[in-house]
Symmetry: C2
Subunit: 146 residues, 2 copies
């Protein structure tokens, strides 16, 4: 079974991080520059929240907040759902599905080690299934004809 660690090995452990006092504009600039759609807000005790493109749409633009004057603390989702590197990809998918969320913060010993999205999870499950198909087709090929 693939785990969250296998996803991080492929996509890398890099997570965009900000603090709760970072402004929306500063976070948006960072996100745009790196071509990512989310940033994790970290405080001294680990991940404190997450701010995504969806939050920018709903809680900033539609809510009429000023990106220059709004700190992430006002518009982030907090607390944030977490998993560990040893969580299986199927369990990660189940958590996302049950909680209607698209991101999971990966923590080890209370420290932030990564961020995975629903697309990472689906792509990993697809790899897992395609390996399984190869294995089964190999069995079929070498089994006697009935």
């Amino acid at each position: 079974m693939l785990t969250v660690n296998d996803i991080l090995l492929i996509k890398g452990p890099d997570v965009m991080v900000a603090t709760s006092t970072t402004t929306v504009l500063e976070a948006a600039e960072q996100m745009a520059e790196s071509g990512v759609g989310s940033v994790v807000i970290e405080d001294s005790s680990g991940a404190d929240g997450i701010f995504t493109e969806r939050d920018l749409l709903q809680r900033v633009v539609v809510a009429g907040r000023d990106p220059v004057a709004t700190p992430l603390s006002e518009v982030m989702t907090s607390p944030v759902a977490t998993c560990s590197t040893s969580t299986t990809v199927r369990d990660a998918q189940a958590i996302m599905f049950e909680q209607h969320i698209r991101h999971l913060v990966v923590e080890e010993d209370g420290g932030l080690v990564g961020l995975i999205g629903v697309r990472d999870v689906l792509a990993a499950l697809l790899r897992e299934d395609e390996d399984k198909i190869k294995e089964l087709e190999n069995y079929k090929e070498h089994s006697p004809v009935v």
Copy 2:
């Protein structure tokens, strides 16, 4: 092989549509209300462009444009990549991968009939693979022991 039509049968043909003179704020309000991350801009001859949460981040907020005063024509991606309902899901995935895009507008006879995202495509491929695994496991179960 699953096709784009199979995806539309599951997610429904509903697409959020706007015109090129719709303002960013109006589009954002529509998107937020419906909980979607993109809107297709349609003119008399079909889909003219697409506007997504990523465009809101990069071309509006970071670019310092005013959502109230900016029409979608200034910030949409145009022309937009399209496919048909008979495109296979694997071909749709290949188009998205090659063009580094996350959405494909589905057209039939020049008319807009749907919008699919990379997550829809991955989820459909996963269903296809899981059916294949069941079929192969069934074969294995009923094949004689070597």
